[in-house]
C-alpha cells in the first residue's frame, strides 16, 4: 500500500468507525433516554471492544491482510447501517449493546491490519487514525446529525465506508465499476434526507403504535 493511500484509508476507516458509535448513541437515546448514562456506557463498551478486536486480529494471516480488511469493512458497513434500524425497531438496549460490541470488535481489527499493510509506518497510521476519529467527533454529532438527521447520516457514513472498502479490492474484476454506486447513493441521501428520516421515524413508531 502506498504511503498516501495508507494514510487515507487509516483516516476514513477511523472516521467511519467512530461515526457508527455516535450513531448508536443517538439511536440508544431515542429508545430509552438518559443520554449521559448511555454515553458513559457506550464509550466504555466501544473502547473495550476495540481492544478485544485488536487482540483477535493478532490471529489473522499477515499475507492476507488486504482481503481480510475488505471483509472486515464490509461487515462493519452492514452492522453500522442496519444496526441503528434494528435498534429502533426492537427498542432493546441489549441488542444495541451487542451491536456496539460487534462494531467495536470489527473496528479494532482495522489498526493491526493497516499496520501489516503499511510496514514501518506505524506512527503515521496511528496519527491519521486519531485524526479520523477527531474529525468524526466534530462532524457527526455537531454537523450531520443536526443537519441531515440520523437516517441520512447512517447512509452517508455507510456509503463512505463501503466506497473505501471496495477501493481496497478494486483491482479484482468488476469491483472497480461498483465504487461510484455508494458515492452516488451517499450524495443523494445527503440532499434528499427527509424521506429516509421519515422512514426511520415510521419504523420506530411501528413498535410504539
Amino acid at each position: 500500500m502506498s504511503k498516501i493511500s495508507g494514510n487515507v484509508y487509516s483516516f476514513f476507516f477511523a472516521l467511519c468507525s467512530l461515526s457508527y458509535e455516535f450513531i448508536f448513541i443517538k439511536a440508544a437515546t431515542a429508545i430509552q433516554g438518559g443520554q449521559i448514562f448511555k454515553y458513559n456506557l457506550i464509550v466504555s463498551l466501544f473502547t473495550f471492544s476495540l481492544g478485544v478486536g485488536s487482540l483477535l486480529s493478532q490471529k489473522v494471516w499477515k499475507e492476507n491482510s488486504l482481503t481480510i480488511l475488505f471483509k472486515v469493512e464490509l461487515a462493519l458497513f452492514l452492522v453500522g447501517v442496519l444496526g441503528p434500524v434494528i435498534v429502533l425497531m426492537s427498542h432493546s438496549m441489549i441488542i444495541c449493546n451487542v451491536l456496539i460490541i460487534m462494531t467495536g470488535i470489527l473496528s479494532g481489527y482495522e489498526l493491526p491490519l493497516l499496520f501489516n499493510l503499511n510496514k514501518n509506518r506505524d506512527h503515521e497510521v496511528i496519527a491519521w487514525d486519531y485524526i479520523g476519529m477527531f474529525m468524526a467527533s466534530l462532524l457527526i454529532p455537531l454537523v450531520t446529525l443536526k443537519v441531515i438527521g440520523l437516517g441520512a447520516t447512517t447512509i452517508l457514513i455507510g456509503c463512505l465506508n463501503l466506497t473505501f472498502a471496495l477501493s481496497l479490492v478494486r483491482g479484482k474484476g468488476f469491483i472497480k465499476w461498483l465504487i461510484p454506486i455508494p458515492v452516488l447513493i451517499g450524495i443523494f441521501f445527503s440532499f434528499y434526507h427527509f424521506k429516509i428520516n421519515e422512514i426511520l421515524s415510521y419504523l420506530y413508531l411501528q413498535k410504539v403504535l
Binding site: G33, Y39, G51, I131
Partner: protein
C-alpha cells in the same frame, strides 16, 4: 506478585483516566445543557491527544526509568482530571460573582470560556494517558496481548462505575475523591514495582488533591450556586472570599443529586424591616421551574385553562412529569373521583417532594396519599410505549427543552405516541416554552413546537398564557376559546389574567419551521 501488581496498575490507570474524562463531560454537559457538543468534541479531543501523547512521550530502555516516566504521566493525568471540574466551577463562580454578565440560565453564561477550560484539561488528560500505553507495552513486551486487554478492561469499567456512583447520588467532591483514591493506588503501586518505598512521596500529589477536593470543591460549587441563584455580585476581587458568608445570610441552597438531574431547592429568607416575605424556588439542572409565588398561577392555569377549553370533566387523567406533586394535588381537589396516574422518572424528585417542607406546603402532602392515585416511576415516553390505556386528559409537565435530551420530549415521535394514548375527544396540555429564553430564540422554538404538534396530528391547538404559557391540543379540529363564565370563582386573579389566548402570535406566521424529531435534522 509484581506481574499481578503491574496488571492491576494497568487496569487502574485506564479506569481513572476515562473516569475523569467522563466525569468532566458529565458536569459540563449538565450545567450547559449541551450534552451533544461536549460529548462529541470532548471524545474527539481526548482520543486525538491520546495519539499525540503516544507519539510524544518516549519509551526508555531501562525499567526504572520507565516506571519513573509512568509516575510523572500519572501525576499529569491525575492533576488534569481532578482539576478539570474544579476549574470549571471556579470560572463560573468568578464570572457570575464579578458580574461579567447577568445570567438567567447557564445558557447565558459564556459557554466558550467554560468549554475552553474543560476542553484544555481534557486534552491534557488525553495527552498524559496516551503516553502511558507504549510504556506498558514495553514493560510487558512478553505478553502484549494481556497488557492491551488489561488496559481496555480498565476502560470498560469506567463508564459503569461512574453510572453506579451517579446512582449513589455522590456529589462532585465524592466522585473526584474516588478517582483520586484509585490513582493513589496506582502511584503507590509504582513505588512497589521499583521496590523503593522511599518513593512513597509520589502519593503527595493525591493527598494534596484529596485535601483540596474536600475543602474547596463543596465551597466553590455552593459559592457559584449562591451567586448564580441570588444574583450576588462583588465589586472588588478581594470580596470574592467573603461572598460565601453573604450567601448564607440571604438564604439556603439544598442540593439533591439524582441520576437524571441536579435538584436545587433555593430559599430566600424574608428581609428584615421590609415587606419581602422570602421565597422558595425549585431548580432542575440550574433552570427555574417554579417558585412559591408563581406556582399557583402556573398550576391553576395549566389545569383550569385546559379543562375550560375542553368543556368536559376528564375521568381518566395522565400526568407526565410533575414529580413535585403540585399539579396532582390540584387535580385531586378538582376531580376526586377521576382515575389519575402520575408518571415521573426521577425517584429523587418524588422523594424530595414527599419530604421537603416547602414542597409539601405546595403539594399538600399528596404524594404520601398513595391510595388516591397511581404513581408510576418510569420514563414518560417508555410508559406511553408500553401502556395501552386511553386517557381523557394528558398533562405534560416537563422542563423546557434546554438540552438535546429534553428536546426529544417535544419531538414529533413523542407527540404521536401521546396522541395514540388519547381517548376520542381527549385533550393534552403542556408547558409551552415561549418565555424563558432570549426573545428571538423563544419565538422559533415556540413555532417549532406548534408545528410539531400539528404534524403529529393535533388539529386543534391553542397556545395561551402570557405569564405562564401552555398549549392546549385536541386531535379533532375544533374552534377553541375560553368560556370565562365557567371559570371557578376562587381562582387567583393572576390565573384569570393568564387565561388569554396567544393564537394571534402564531397563526399569522406563514413561515415553515422544521419539526422537532428524534431523527430529522434541526
Amino acid at each position: 506478585m509484581k506481574n499481578t501488581v503491574f496488571l492491576m496498575v494497568n487496569i487502574s490507570t485506564s479506569l481513572t483516566s476515562l473516569f475523569f474524562y467522563l466525569l468532566t463531560v458529565k458536569e459540563v454537559s449538565q450545567i450547559s445543557g449541551e450534552e451533544t457538543f461536549f460529548q462529541s468534541i470532548g471524545l474527539g479531543l481526548y482520543l486525538l491527544f491520546m495519539g499525540i501523547g503516544a507519539y510524544f512521550f518516549k519509551v526508555n530502555k531501562s525499567y526504572d526509568q520507565n516506571i519513573n516516566q509512568l509516575i510523572k504521566l500519572e501525576w499529569g493525568a491525575l492533576f488534569s482530571g481532578a482539576t478539570a471540574p474544579i476549574l470549571m466551577y471556579l470560572y463560573l463562580f468568578i464570572a457570575t460573582a464579578k458580574g461579567f454578565y447577568a445570567p438567567v440560565s447557564p445558557q447565558d453564561i459564556g459557554l466558550i470560556p467554560v468549554a475552553l477550560v474543560t476542553l484544555v484539561t481534557i486534552c491534557s488528560l488525553g495527552l498524559f494517558t496516551g503516553g502511558q500505553l507504549p510504556i506498558f507495552l514495553k514493560i510487558g513486551s512478553e505478553s502484549k496481548n494481556v497488557v492491551l486487554f488489561a488496559n481496555y478492561l480498565g476502560a470498560l469499567m469506567a463508564g459503569p462505575v461512574l453510572n453506579y456512583l451517579i446512582n449513589l447520588q455522590l456529589n462532585l467532591s465524592g466522585m473526584l475523591l474516588f478517582g483520586i483514591i484509585v490513582s493513589s493506588f496506582t502511584l503507590t503501586s509504582y513505588a512497589f514495582l521499583i521496590s523503593r518505598f522511599s518513593k512513597v512521596w509520589v502519593t503527595i500529589l493525591p493527598i494534596v488533591l484529596i485535601l483540596m477536593t474536600r475543602q474547596i470543591t463543596g465551597d466553590l460549587v455552593q459559592s457559584f450556586l449562591g451567586s448564580y441563584y441570588y444574583g450576588l455580585k462583588v465589586k472588588e476581587w478581594g470580596e470574592l472570599g467573603s461572598l460565601r458568608k453573604t450567601i448564607a445570610k440571604v438564604g439556603t441552597i439544598t442540593t439533591i443529586k439524582s441520576p437524571y438531574q441536579d435538584i436545587h431547592l433555593v430559599t430566600e429568607n424574608p428581609l428584615k424591616n421590609s415587606f419581602s416575605p422570602g421565597n422558595f424556588t425549585l431548580y432542575l439542572n440550574h433552570k427555574p421551574q417554579f417558585d412559591f409565588m408563581s406556582s399557583p398561577t402556573y398550576h391553576e392555569s395549566m389545569l383550569y385553562g385546559a379543562v375550560n377549553l375542553s368543556q368536559k370533566r376528564p375521568q381518566k387523567i395522565l400526568v407526565l412529569g410533575g414529580g413535585d406533586g403540585i399539579l396532582v394535588s390540584y387535580l385531586l381537589t378538582s376531580f376526586p373521583d377521576a382515575d389519575l396516574t402520575l408518571v415521573e422518572l426521577d425517584h429523587e424528585m418524588l422523594k424530595t417532594a414527599k419530604e421537603e417542607p416547602s414542597l409539601i406546603l405546595l403539594n399538600k402532602g399528596v404524594l404520601n396519599k398513595k391510595d388516591k392515585f397511581r404513581l408510576v416511576i418510569d420514563d414518560g415516553f417508555n410508559f406511553l410505549r408500553n401502556n395501552q390505556d386511553l386517557y381523557d386528559g394528558i398533562f405534560i409537565d416537563f422542563p423546557y427543552p434546554y438540552s438535546d435530551e429534553l428536546l426529544s420530549l417535544y419531538s414529533q415521535e413523542f407527540y404521536q405516541t401521546v396522541k395514540a394514548r388519547l381517548a376520542k375527544s381527549g385533550f393534552i396540555a403542556l408547558d409551552f416554552p415561549i418565555t424563558d429564553k432570549r426573545e428571538e430564540e423563544a419565538s422559533v422554538l415556540a413555532y417549532r413546537v406548534t408545528q410539531t404538534l400539528q404534524i403529529a396530528g393535533f388539529k386543534a391547538l391553542l397556545p395561551y398564557g402570557p405569564y405562564s404559557s401552555f398549549i392546549y391540543g385536541e386531535v379533532e379540529s375544533r374552534n377553541l376559546k375560553f368560556n370565562y363564565d365557567e371559570l371557578k370563582m376562587n381562582l387567583k386573579l393572576s390565573t384569570r389574567l393568564n387565561l388569554v389566548s396567544l393564537e394571534h402570535l402564531f397563526n399569522s406566521s406563514k413561515q415553515k419551521f422544521k419539526p422537532i424529531s428524534l431523527f430529522y435534522g434541526q
